[in-house]
């Protein structure tokens, strides 16, 4: 299929939402999903699983692509598929660090802590959470640890018995220009260029998992200030990395 033919099919699909046309386009571009799945294979996740993730992203990409915006489909969909594969790795790395049950407990702990705060005006202790949820204190303490997002510097084991590597090594290929936004090194370099206050906001929000209100309290500014700063930071990073 030539680029011209593909563009016509995309336009036709957008007008009709005909699944047959969508499938034809997916088949035509399946090679991209296969290439990317192969590229990320051998890091502790089966190729077939990665191909499934890549294929789902490809289908979603075909459904959303608008050729009238002037982009080539391959340019549009490659970072999307790579991003989905990396998200899969992120979930996988979390799954191997802590059992899934803990995340369910963590969600219950958060909900109970919020409910307690709404009723009493102060946050509960671990003992109070334990009594309210009927869970052992040890489990509550573990669940509290799950509130923190995984750092890109966190070390993960990508295969059983394999060496530990930084998470950003497991999920990013620094040689691939398409993936600059998700490349840990590039991201950290751009964060280092932010002004000191913005760096503090990034660290507190995304490394330590603080809420906007908590960040505001620590930095002595309003939650609105943090919200505006966060939006500005994301725009800066997008501009620099995309």
């Amino acid at each position: 299929m030539t680029d011209r033919e593909a563009e016509e099919l995309f336009l036709k699909y957008r007008a009709t939402h005909d699944v047959a046309i969508r499938n034809k386009l997916v088949e035509n571009y399946m090679y991209i999903a296969e290439i990317l799945a192969k590229k990320f294979a051998g890091r502790g996740v089966e190729y077939d699983d990665l191909l499934q993730v890549a294929s789902e992203a490809l289908i979603s990409g075909v459904e959303k692509f608008d050729p009238s915006l002037g982009n080539r489909f391959t340019t549009y969909v490659t970072p999307t598929i790579a991003g989905n594969i990396k998200n899969y790795f992120r979930d996988y790395s979390r799954a191997v660090r802590l059992p899934r049950k803990i995340y369910t407990v963590a969600a219950n702990v958060r909900a109970e802590a919020d409910a307690y705060f709404a009723e009493h005006g102060v946050k509960p202790t671990v003992k109070q959470l334990s009594e309210a949820l009927g869970l052992e204190e040890e489990l509550i303490i573990e669940a509290l640890e799950c509130r923190n997002p995984v750092s890109l510097d966190a070390r993960v084991r990508t295969s059983e018995g394999g060496d530990e590597v930084p998470l950003y090594d497991a999920i990013a290929d620094p040689k691939d220009a398409f993936e600059s936004f998700e490349d840990g090194e590039s991201l950290r370099a751009e964060i280092a260029k932010l002004d000191p206050t913005e760096q503090k906001v990034v660290t507190l929000r995304f490394l330590h998992g603080k809420s906007q209100a908590e960040v505001g309290k620590i930095l002595g500014v309003s939650q609105m200030f943090v919200s505006r700063a966060e939006r500005k930071i994301v725009e800066k990073l997008k501009e620099a990395l995309l």
Binding site: K123, V126, E137, R147, R155, E164, T203, I218
Partner: protein, 115 residues
Amino acid sequence: MKEINVNFSLADSEYMTALRLVAGSVLAANDRDVDVIEDFKVCVTESVIILKNCGFGRVSATFGTDGGVYCVVCGEGGEPRESENEFSLALVSALVADCSIERKNGVIGKVTLRV
């Protein structure tokens, strides 16, 4: 006074989670609320990062209670050097009631946190 000590190589950051769990457990045993626990864990983490940035090879964190709860984080071994830790220090100072930093020849070698 009871103390718990955690000592590990800074080359293996997997033990950071173990350290944070100990920090959470000590404060939970002291009946502190979940926000205090979260803030204290952030400070313990940042203290270890400071010592790692300063070139130490191992870290020793001693938790204890004496009316309040304290954690003394000391760097050991490695090749200590001066390092830029402005933000980590600001964060630690902001999140705990009491914090002291000890330097030797300009190099941070010990952080004491108290809540």
